[in-house]
């Protein structure tokens, strides 16, 4: 019985893993980049490169909010909604925005935003149209060019298979702790097995956590049934129950002047003396039913829903708030969600998350390469490789080498497209997918060591060109970032240089590797992975 359990788990691990590994690689790749979502957006938006972080960020918030209310009262008096987004440690600028009248066919009205430098309170240069880090963030669960809900179901399916592959992987890796620190070099598929085992074991808690919590973030799409049975009006009833809402003055009719924002801020600071306010939203300003929502940072607690207070704009009375103390079920759910997003992680934890993400990419990548290599090694020289093997090898090359190149193309397009290009953000994304498609087409033709070498060389050049093109097209470059202590931008460029070097090393290794054309990739290849900042 035990033996058959072991064998069925081996079978399950192989096939479940192989079925979804390329999609998972994409999810892990884009998800890892999403940990640097704000930094990528910063890099993509040269207008905010020179905004210095404030020295007294929290102390300045009160004045920024008061100024913002004056600004919005003058500019958006008839708007249906106002929003003040305050600078955060990773997002250095300030936004005052009001909703424009809803156009026909729009689900939500667009916002007219004014971005300011919080140090000088001067308006920033116009922003270029780019999705920035949000592109990768959306890509990792909404994919692209397809309906978001369908995409989320596909992603959930792949994630669930990932979870199954992890569990069955732990079962079949009998010597999990025995071999923990061993790595056999230059042993062909053995080396890939060790790379696979090591990258899985070293970040095993991370892999389990990120896969499980990833599905939890979409759980109400996956399993709406508990909410539907417990609440008579289904999901809507449930959400109304969980999110704090104004039920005291929402029926009030007519116009009404707003209370001074000062009095509302006083209430906030009385409740939370050290509040780090992240955003203020005003719904239906200048109406009797208006509400002012103050969101604060959750700080060190594991909470995904930002703690908030909701005030009536007409009376200044507090009408709703989030719970100060979460019940244990809520705390469980909230902590699962916030573990996945790591929104408030410190820079140290963020880098450890990235390490886990890279380990995940290595785990998935080495897994699919290992499958192809093993089948290759078993195939006799005179037997033609099966279609399945060719397909797997092609997909391996296309995803593992194509994604980094596509990412480079995305950033290069960001710098080279003129700021006035129509639908600029979409064209950046088009550059991403066209590059990926090109690599996939090349992988159709040939998948041998030479092709891997060519792709590695192209990747090395592409990675190198990102900081170079940045230096040529913007005022800053990697040296000036270092001099002016612009660490986010410096790290971004430095990582591209680092990956350029790694790809170059890979090219060299592939050249010196045993020239066995039957083997798709070198036995010596570095297990340092082709992952981008």
């Amino acid at each position: 019985m035990k033996d058959s359990f072991f064998r069925s788990m081996t079978w399950l691990h192989t096939w479940v893993g192989l079925l979804v590994c390329w999609l998972l690689y994409l999810i892990f790749f884009a998800g890892t980049l999403s940990f640097f979502r704000d930094e990528i957006t910063l890099w993509n938006q040269p207008a905010i490169h020179n905004v210095q972080a404030q020295t007294q960020r929290i102390e300045a918030q009160k004045q920024q909010i008061i100024t913002g209310f004056d600004y919005l009262a003058n500019h958006g008096a008839n708007s249906s909604s106002w929003r003040i987004t305050l600078p955060e440690p990773r997002i250095p600028y300030l936004i005052y925005g009001y909703a424009k009248p809803k156009e026909l066919g729009q689900r939500r009205s667009k916002f007219e935003n004014t971005q300011l430098n919080p140090n000088t309170m001067q308006e920033l240069e116009p922003f270029v149209d780019t999705k920035g880090g949000n592109f990768f963030y959306r890509l990792h669960y909404d994919l692209h060019y397809m309906d978001a809900i369908t995409a989320r179901w596909i992603v959930c399916f792949a994630s669930f298979f990932m979870l199954i592959a992890i569990i069955s992987g732990v079962v079949i890796h009998k010597r999990i702790f025995k071999d923990m620190f061993s790595f056999r070099r230059n042993k062909g598929s053995r080396t890939w097995l060790d790379a696979h085992n090591l990258s899985s074991v070293l970040a095993l808690p991370f892999h389990l956590m990120i896969t499980y919590t990833g599905m939890i973030t979409l759980i109400f799409m996956l399993f709406p049934y508990p909410a539907q049975t417990s609440y008579d009006n289904g999901m809507r009833g449930f959400f109304n129950d969980v999110t704090p809402r104004n039920t005291m003055t929402d029926k009030a009719q007519g116009e009404s002047s707003m209370v001074p924002i000062q009095s509302i801020l006083d209430q906030v600071y009385t409740k939370w003396p050290h509040a780090d306010i992240t955003r203020i939203q005003v719904n239906q300003p200048n109406m009797a039913a208006s509400t002012i929502t103050v969101l604060v940072s959750a700080g060190k607690t594991l909470r995904d829903q930002a703690p908030r207070l909701i005030f009536s704009g007409a009376t200044g009375q507090m009408v709703a708030k989030t719970d100060d103390e979460l019940t244990s079920s809520k705390a469980l759910y909230e902590s699962l969600n916030s573990m996945h997003t790591g929104r408030l992680a410190t820079w140290l934890l963020r880098w450890l998350y990235v390490l886990g993400g890279i380990a995940g990419c290595v785990m998935i990548g080495s897994g699919c390469i290992m499958w192809a290599k093993r089948i290759r090694e078993r195939t006799k020289n005179n037997v033609k490789p099966s279609f399945g093997l060719k397909l797997v090898e092609g997909l391996n090359l296309a995803t593992i080498m194509g994604l980094p190149l596509a990412t480079c193309a995305f950033f290069i397009a960001n710098r080279l497209l003129s700021p006035t290009t129509a639908e600029r953000a979409d064209k950046e994304i088009l550059a991403f997918f066209l590059t990926w498609l090109a690599v996939a087409l090349l992988a159709l033709i040939k998948r041998d060591t030479l092709q891997w070498r060519v792709m590695a060389a192209i990747n090395a050049v592409a990675c190198l060109s990102v900081p170079v093109i940045n230096a040529l097209t913007t005022n800053g470059n990697i040296v000036s970032y270092l001099m002016h202590k612009q660490w986010a931008l410096f790290t971004f460029d430095a990582l591209f240089l680092l990956f350029s070097i790694l790809f170059f090393i890979q090219t060299e290794k592939l050249r010196t590797a045993k020239n066995n054309s039957k083997i798709i990739s070198p036995s010596q290849s570095n297990n340092l992975k082709r992952q981008k900042p």
């Binding site: 064998r7 569990i167 049975t229 759910y333």
Partner: protein, 113 residues
């Protein structure tokens, strides 16, 4: 009913290709097992979490949040179970029966019938 699934790791694909007869039955068995694991597991999880959220003696929103938080765990356990038990018949019967039992219990409690 000795599922060939267990004796067919990937290195035996070629051997299997020779035995055309067993190919079809092997594929059918794999399909049936994946079907019960994915669809049956989903149904089992949905039914059990719905029932759980309804019977837990805590506030409604807490019950819902707790049951959705553990739903993936339940699903994963059922999935692994579906692949670890040798007899496909046992898997199908146990999952269908328990799901049916959960749904009828829920229907009884909610007064759907």
């Amino acid at each position: 009913m000795q599922a060939p699934l267990h004796s067919a790791p990937f290195d035996k694909v070629n051997v299997i290709a020779l035995m055309v007869k067993s190919v079809s039955s092997y594929r059918v068995l794999v399909f049936l097992r994946f079907f019960i694991a994915i669809i049956g597991g989903y149904a089992f999880t949905s039914a059990s979490t719905a029932l759980l959220s309804f019977v837990l003696p805590i506030a409604k929103q807490d019950a819902v949040l707790f049951s959705v938080s553990i739903s993936i765990l339940i699903y994963a356990v059922v999935f692994i179970y579906a692949f670890s038990v040798k007899s496909l018949k046992t898997v199908w019967i146990s999952i269908l029966l328990s799901t049916g039992a959960f749904i009828s219990l829920l229907a009884l409690l909610k007064g759907w019938v």
